[in-house]
């Protein structure tokens, strides 16, 4: 084997061609850290999804942050009552961009079985929701399906277009 051929072979083993978006998004989707908060019975399923049997640390999201300032994803797990709504909004506002919201269960999606004075009819009234997971409460499998849908969404984003990566946005 000539020297030239040897160099070519070595280069083929060590150089990978890809796009910035693909690597960047792959890194982001592989470490989505959720905020640690739950509102109702859905939170129990979320805890179930976090613990050993279902174990969502497989997605790199085992670190549930107790501070919204270190989190990427807000899982709204449960009924949002009007008394709690300002606090949920405040948690969302404290999260740094990029941030995502997953509405877990029928209550967070549309008020669920509580069409009354006390319950907010869907958390999308106050925060933009990326993924809705139906169920009452959803099984951990369903929640993980929601995570994977969110991962698909993250992979589709491009830092050329997302609002949180633009210079104009930073000036604001």
């Amino acid at each position: 084997m000539s020297e030239e051929e040897l160099i070519k072979e070595q280069l083929q083993k060590n150089i990978f061609l890809t796009s910035v978006d693909a690597v960047y998004n792959w890194g982001r989707k592989s470490s989505v850290w959720p905020v640690m908060f739950g509102l109702a019975c859905c939170a129990i399923e979320m805890i179930g999804a976090a613990s050993a049997r279902y174990d969502f640390s497989r997605f790199g999201m085992e670190i549930m942050r107790a501070s919204p300032r270190q989190a990427d994803l807000m899982i709204v797990a449960g009924t949002v009552v009007h008394k709690m709504a300002p606090q949920v909004l405040r948690i969302y506002e404290q999260m740094p961009e990029p941030k995502y919201v997953l509405a877990m269960g029928t209550c967070a999606t549309a008020g669920g079985p509580f069409p009354g004075y006390a319950v907010l009819q869907g958390v999308d009234e106050i925060v933009p929701v990326d993924v809705y997971v139906p169920g009452c409460p959803p099984r951990p499998e369903a929640l993980m399906h929601g995570f994977m849908k969110l991962h698909d969404d993250i992979m589709k984003q491009s830092i050329k277009t997302v609002s949180w990566y633009q210079k104009e946005e930073a000036v604001k």
Binding site: H82, P86, Q87, P115, G116, Y117, A118, E125
Partner: protein, 165 residues
């Protein structure tokens, strides 16, 4: 002392205070709202009903009914002695608070005030406990229209200081 004995004793001591003794419900006595405090003091001190388990209210067509469930820890009673008052004034219902007598009535009177709008005079800290100050109406009243609210709709009713949320 059993509940039946307490009822007999109360009838002897306060014949004027008793409005009604419903036969269908065991150990229930309806008293005049003005004499509630003296009857309550008598039941607590003379009849050893030392535990206030429930304070709740019912919205009747003609009046509000405030219900107190009393037990005796000292005598180990298993059935409640039920004390009731009827409040005829449906616009501004008010009754004397029993929180100075039984500390356990504190939050429960707050809850009745919150959801039924009954004012407890003499309560040390009467405020809405589940909803916030400024919520439109009293949800457990029959004339409250139970409908859904949007976030924007309720936003102006909320207190501006976070401590009062």
């Amino acid at each position: 002392m059993t509940n039946a004995e307490i009822l007999t004793k109360l009838k002897e001591k306060y014949p004027d205070a008793i409005v009604d003794v419903p036969e269908l419900i065991d150990f229930t006595v309806v008293v005049k709202p003005k004499l509630l405090t003296s009857v309550a003091v008598f039941l607590r001190d003379e009849c050893a009903l030392d535990y206030m388990a429930d304070v709740t209210a019912v919205d009747r067509p003609e009046y509000f009914e405030v219900v107190y469930h009393l037990y005796s820890v000292k005598n180990q009673t298993s059935e409640p002695f039920v004390l009731k008052v009827y409040l005829e004034d449906k616009e501004t219902p008010a009754v004397a608070s029993v929180t100075p007598l039984w500390k356990g009535a504190d939050f429960q009177e707050c809850e009745v005030y919150d959801l039924m709008g009954i004012h407890f005079e003499g309560h040390p800290n009467l405020r809405r406990i589940l909803l916030w100050e400024g919520f439109p109406g009293y949800p457990l009243r029959k004339d409250f229209e139970n409908r859904t609210f949007t976030f924007e709709e309720l936003e102006p009713t909320r207190p501006k200081t976070p401590e009062l949320m």
